[in-house]
């Protein structure tokens, strides 16, 4: 909540304020034991009214309450200070400055929008504030750290980069599409946006490596409404599968794919399909759509996943969005890093964060090192975070991959002709 500015404060009020400040200053200089009992503050700057972003402050609060109930960090409680950024980079920067200089938070968790995180990154450096994003995907966030590590080392990427997402998708495609369905060709179909540039580049690289030939690469405008000509063109090229990279759009291509009975399966990143409301949004047209994710409400990726989903649903009345899982984990591993560092000193905290080895709700969290092209990016792979490949089946998100956490098999609606092209 913003307090209204009072420009015309009267003299007595000012005097009272001064007295109050003096008193406050006194409490700050009080004996050392008081210091150790002050709460650890974590600022959460997020899109509180957006479907995806609203889970960030909620999940962070849930984690803080759990940690506090278990005794806190070295006897200190965790306090979440929330700011709504209204999906705006400018508002996020103001909130970040306020969090650092007025509210004296010790770390910040922020946003699922890459543009917002990129705007905050230099501020994390200037104000020496450990900052973690639970949902942005741009590779540029960590590429910036590589270029100027000493200044930007305070930034941590708590969600997969577009390149890693493409790699995770390819890993799943290798088992499901090549291994099980013997597919050989694909058309890459992505919306024209910043996040899909590295995604598509990686698709074009990793698909041939697993034995899938890319016969065409289509980038369409995110304001496309009629996908008929696009599906038509793809069908003419007779690929075995359509590899998707869609997030801004989702409902329209899915519904038209079903309505036109395009006989080729869609597989890849379809961010809107990860929302549990997607079935109703498409009136069930999403049946058979395969989409990459790192979490799903019914999949026990780790022993922590389902208890988190249950606690979250019980408290907030709905399942968390994808960045709810990561925000929840982030509070835990920031607390863990503070515990190991024995201090909230930013530089010590960065060192401790870099040594993070924490099993959270989406897998085992470890950050890439200083000398990699993407320092502080999550390590993605079978040993750490492998991701999932889910499919909509009868109104439910069924997980197909990796096999150890799969709870179903690939199943397509009758209009899909697997292998028809061959």
């Amino acid at each position: 909540m913003k307090k209204p500015e009072n420009r015309g404060a009267s003299a007595p009020l000012l005097a009272a304020l001064a007295a109050g400040t003096a008193l406050f200053a006194l409490t700050l200089t009080a004996p050392a034991y008081a210091q150790s009992n002050t709460p650890i503050k974590i600022g959460v700057i997020a899109e509180a009214t957006a479907v995806a972003g609203s889970s960030i402050p909620q999940a962070a609060q849930l984690a803080a309450d759990e940690i506090n109930a278990a005794g806190g960090v070295n006897g200190r409680k965790i306090e979440i200070v929330s700011y709504d950024n209204h999906s705006s980079a400018a508002e996020s920067v103001r909130a970040f400055q306020r969090a650092a200089t007025q509210d004296h938070v010790n770390a910040v968790i922020t946003s699922y929008i890459s543009e917002v995180v990129l705007a905050l990154e230099p501020w994390a450096g200037r104000l020496k504030m450990v900052t973690v994003t639970p949902g942005a995907a741009s590779d540029v966030i960590t590429q910036n750290i590589a270029k100027d590590y000493d200044h930007l080392k305070y930034m941590f990427h708590g969600y997969a980069t577009s390149t890693s997402i493409a790699d995770a998708t390819c890993a799943a495609a290798k088992d499901l599409l090549v291994g099980q369905l013997h597919m050989k060709t694909a058309v890459v179909m992505s919306e024209d946006a910043a996040w899909t540039t590295p995604l598509d580049a990686e698709y074009l690289k990793c698909l041939p490596q697993i034995g899938i030939k890319v016969v065409d690469h289509i980038r369409f405008s995110p304001d496309t409404t009629d996908f008929t000509p696009i599906f038509n063109k793809i069908e003419g090229e007779k690929p075995d599968v359509i590899m998707t990279g869609i997030s801004h759009v989702g409902v329209q291509p899915t519904v038209q794919w079903k309505q036109q009975e395009v006989p080729i399966p869609m597989f890849g990143v379809s961010s809107q399909a990860t929302n549990s409301s997607f079935w109703n949004d498409t009136n069930g047209a999403t049946e058979g759509v395969l989409f990459q994710g790192f979490s799903a409400p019914d999949v026990a990726v780790t022993p922590k996943t389902l208890p988190f989903v249950q606690a979250f649903s019980k408290r907030f009345g709905h399942t968390p969005s994808y960045c709810g899982y990561t925000a929840y984990d982030e509070v835990y591993y920031i607390a863990d890093a503070i515990k190991r560092a024995g201090s909230v000193d930013p530089d010590k905290l960065v060192t401790a964060m870099e040594q993070t080895d924490f099993v959270g709700t989406i897998g085992r969290v470890q950050f890439k090192g200083k000398d990699t092209p993407n320092p502080h990016a999550l390590k993605i792979g079978p040993e750490t975070i492998s991701g999932l490949m889910l499919q909509w089946q009868n109104g439910k998100q069924v997980n197909l991959w990796p096999a150890k956490v799969a709870n179903g098999k690939v199943k397509f609606p009758s209009f899909i002709k697997v292998g028809a092209a061959n």
Binding site: D223, T224, T225, V251, Q252, Q259, E261, Q272, D281
Partner: protein
């Protein structure tokens, strides 16, 4: 050859939808001189209402569609009584300035509706549960049955409108009002009654067009502006106020867009139609069949 048939069939469905959407828009301008810039928002509201009915009330596709049309109709009447009519009747605004006031008011009204929908139902696209499913092969082209259904309903709605205007007394009054509003008041017809009738017809058309578009392509609150713009350019191309002109223009624009999308790129879909519009403005500013 398949592409030719594909363009012919797809273009027909999308053009029929454009025709239906633009007819009501043209009718209102022809009769009352009002350019209703909340047009796109009303269509989006009809779609979201039909979707929400299915989502939260679990009604069937027919009931859902009916609720969508009812919401389009109600909002159209609300637009007339709350936004347009008070401005038409006020004495505080000079007569010659009223048109621009009404234009601005409908624009703001449209933005209000759009923002409310985005607030409560997000700006993600919504689709209306289709009444008919499956595909039918026409000359080798796999065509969704829903696309054929859309074209048939549009054709029927336009035919009914034509009968209404040309064969009934009330319809003839509407036609007369569009030719000479002052003249028909001299014949003892209450002009405001004609306006209400026109807004009612428009409401049904906008509801039906919205619901069909929601079934055919899906729609988001973000589409409100582009939908108004497309109706507007079709009506300008056809000749402001001319319903037959709007019908012809709808097919010209629909086919031009489809041909571009298939033969050049879907990304350039709307550009040739806009260039045509500019060209028509130079050569024939009153549009194809315009009277004014």
């Amino acid at each position: 050859m398949t592409v030719f048939w594909q363009i012919l069939i797809d273009g027909f469905a999308i053009s029929s939808l454009y025709a239906l959407g633009a007819t009501g828009f043209a009718l209102i301008f022809g009769v009352s001189g009002v350019l209703n810039l909340s047009h796109g928002s009303l269509m989006v509201a009809a779609v979201v209402a039909a979707w929400a009915a299915g989502d939260s009330l679990h009604v069937g596709p027919y009931t859902g569609a009916a609720i969508g049309v009812a919401v389009g109709f109600s909002l159209s009447m609300l637009t007339y009584f709350v936004v347009v009519s008070p401005l038409q009747h006020t004495r505080k605004i000079r007569e010659e300035e009223k048109e621009i006031f009404i234009l601005t008011a409908t624009l703001l009204w449209g933005i209000m509706i759009q923002q409310l929908i985005a607030y409560f139902y997000t700006d993600n696209a919504k689709t209306v549960a289709p009444i008919v499913q499956g595909v039918i092969k026409i000359v080798g082209v796999r065509t969704p049955a829903n696309e054929i259904f859309t074209a048939i309903v549009c054709g029927l709605a336009i035919a009914i409108l034509w009968l209404l205007v040309n064969r009934t007394r009330a319809g003839k009054a509407v036609l007369a009002a569009s030719m000479n509003p002052r003249g028909i008041t001299l014949l003892g017809v209450e002009l405001s009654q004609v306006y209400i009738a026109v807004w009612a017809i428009y409401g049904v058309l906008v509801g039906v067009a919205g619901v069909l578009l929601g079934m055919f392509l899906g729609i988001s609150s973000y589409s409100a502006g582009p939908l108004t713009a497309s109706a507007f350019s079709i009506v300008v191309l056809g000749g402001l106020g001319s319903v037959p002109g709007a019908l012809i223009a709808a097919y010209v624009v629909g086919y031009l867009e489809t041909i571009t999308a298939y033969l050049i790129s879907p990304a350039y879909r709307t550009i040739p139609a806009l260039l045509l519009l500019v060209a028509v403005m130079y050569v024939r500013p009153r549009g194809l069949l315009g009277r004014r």
